[in-house]
């Protein structure tokens, strides 16, 4: 397992940002499921589920980063270090799998097909590639980037069809999320990319939140 290099000064800020991403994606996911309850529309359900998975992924990531920065500050013995390492590995796997399946669900939603076999096939290919690779974190960012390229194209087409400001905001949001994941690929060697990735993600989720707020306020 390889790790991203986190600049020392950024510890704490990353936890705060990840908690913010958790809250925003949870809000969007819950709202999409509320829309599904009112309208019975399948796409809203899939969108809601995908955002809740991404939300759970950020929650795990922020808790892990909080725990690691806390244990570093506190100092610990060999036994607690071993336990912390095991928990950390389990958490990283859970976080990567939840985020990947969340993006696969989102990509599946954009296909407008009703075929569970196809969904499980996509999920199996993504998860299988991730688990079989020797550099798991590296492949996690690459797979996320590939899925986000496809999703960004979908939202570009969605904007070009409607030509509405809200659709443009969402497209730019997903584009920033893609840029963030590309930066995270390089964060394995350079700490600056880790910070840049978080800042790009921050812009992405703020844009998605702006869209959600504008939709809610218009009612």
């Amino acid at each position: 397992m390889n790790y991203a290099i986190v600049p020392h000064w950024f510890f704490g800020y990353n936890v705060l940002l990840e908690m913010l991403f958790f809250a925003i994606t949870l809000l969007v996911g819950a709202y999409a499921l509320k829309i599904y309850q009112i309208s019975g529309q399948r796409q809203s359900k899939l969108f809601g589920i995908s955002f809740l998975m991404i939300s759970a992924s950020y929650f795990i990531q922020s808790v892990l980063n909080f725990a690691s920065s806390y244990s570093m500050a506190d100092g610990c013995n060999t036994q607690t270090m071993s336990l912390a390492y095991t928990l950390n590995i389990a958490g990283i796997y859970a976080q990567m799998l939840l985020f990947t399946v969340g993006l696969v669900t989102l990509a599946y939603m954009t296909l407008r097909i009703k075929n569970l076999k196809a969904y499980f096939l996509f999920a199996a290919i993504a998860i299988g590639t991730l688990l079989a690779s020797s550099a798991k974190l590296y492949f996690f960012y690459i797979i996320s980037s590939i899925l986000l390229i496809y999703i960004s194209f979908f939202y570009l087409r969605n904007y070009l069809q409607s030509r509405k400001a809200n659709a443009l905001i969402v497209f730019i949001g997903f584009l920033f999320l893609l840029f963030a994941k590309i930066h995270f690929i390089f964060s394995i060697n350079h700490g600056a990319f880790y910070v840049a990735g978080h800042l790009l993600e921050f812009v992405a989720y703020v844009l998605i939140l702006i869209n959600l707020i504008s939709v809610i306020r218009r009612k």
Binding site: I38, G40, Q41, N166
Partner: protein, 92 residues
């Protein structure tokens, strides 16, 4: 050529027609104004009655439709639903 209506739009159109003449509208009027085939109309009406959006009342000569609170809620929240689904690319 006009764009094909989505499921949410069709439900909105049916509920809007009923709202215009709440409690007094007959099935033939709803069918005519909602611009659907008879089969499609029956499928949508059955679903709307089943899910509690519309109330069906049997009178001596025929039956009439009225909106329930859930039906009014759907109409009130329709714009928000459409804005949400369109901006996040969830339209059908």
């Amino acid at each position: 050529m006009s764009k094909k209506r989505g499921r949410l739009q069709i439900i909105y159109d049916i509920l809007s027609v009923i709202k215009e003449k709440n409690g007094k509208i007959k099935p033939t009027n709803v069918l005519y104004k909602s611009n659907l085939s008879n089969q499609m109309f029956q499928e949508y009406m059955n679903e709307l009655i089943q899910k509690g959006f519309v109330l069906e009342k049997d009178t001596k000569n025929s039956k009439t439709y009225s909106l329930t609170q859930k039906g009014f809620d759907y109409l009130n929240k329709y714009q928000m639903i459409i804005d949400f689904t369109n901006s996040f690319g969830l339209g059908e």
